[in-house]
């Protein structure tokens, strides 16, 4: 299973962590970040979120993100899975899983990957609200 994926379908956290752990028995710490869909945003109800991507560039940018994380941090393996589809409140959107010998680099890399993904990977989200659809223009 490819460790860097953009896909419509949902993913299993357990399957992703198992795949991460299968790479090495030297992992003493695994950090994960799971991004989910909220039912509100900036004071408005959100009934759904629709994602759009620049397919070729997004895949390249996510792969480059993993490569750079592997170089920057003392980690053993990293996986990134991002859904591009329409999701509803509570649905899973993105998973980052990082394995390292020690927890410190795993936490740091996990946070860096999700923060940098928001800046570098050409994916956009549009929120469906009672007041109409609106593109999200910030990445808090």
């Amino acid at each position: 299973m490819n460790g860097v994926r953009i896909q419509q379908e949902d993913f299993s956290i357990e399957a992703e962590v198992d795949a991460l752990r299968s790479v090495s028995k030297c992992m003493g710490g695994i950090a994960t970040f799971l991004g989910c869909a909220r039912d509100f945003s900036e004071g408005r109800d959100v009934s759904a979120i629709t994602f759009e991507q620049y397919a070729g560039m997004a895949a390249q940018a996510m792969q480059a993100l993993r490569t750079e994380a592997m170089e920057r941090f003392d980690i053993i393996e990293a996986r990134i899975v991002h859904r591009v589809t329409t999701v509803y409140a509570g649905d899973q959107i993105v998973l980052i899983a990082v394995g390292a010998e020690h927890r410190g680099p795993a936490f740091e890399a996990c946070e860096w990957i999700i923060d940098t993904l928001k800046q570098r990977v050409p994916i956009w989200k549009k929120e469906v609200t009672p007041e109409g659809d609106s593109w999200v223009t910030e990445h808090p």
Partner: protein
């Protein structure tokens, strides 16, 4: 006959085909996701944005052949793919 062939080759050499892609809010504002642009001579990214009525001072991300670019003075070449994108909001 020879002259006419010469002229057609000259004209063809100045016509560049460029694919322009729009995403997110910009695609909605432009009312389309992509189009093929025929460029007669040289065209910079700044000139492309101006021709589309897109404010180059607005928060935008541009990519040339799927590589992000910051230099709006870059000249677009035949066969290039230009993406005009709003700031990313994935995750």
């Amino acid at each position: 006959m020879i002259i006419s062939q010469f002229v057609s080759i000259r004209v063809y050499s100045w016509l560049n085909m460029v694919k322009v892609l729009f995403f997110g809010l910009i695609a909605e504002q432009q009312g389309r996701r992509e189009y093929e642009l025929v460029v007669n001579g040289e065209l910079t990214l700044t000139e492309l944005l101006a021709s589309l009525d897109i404010d180059s001072e607005a928060p935008l991300i541009l990519a040339l052949n799927q590589q992000q670019v910051d230099d709006l003075a870059m000249v677009i070449s035949d066969g290039d793919e230009v993406a005009i994108m709003p700031p990313f909001s994935g995750g």
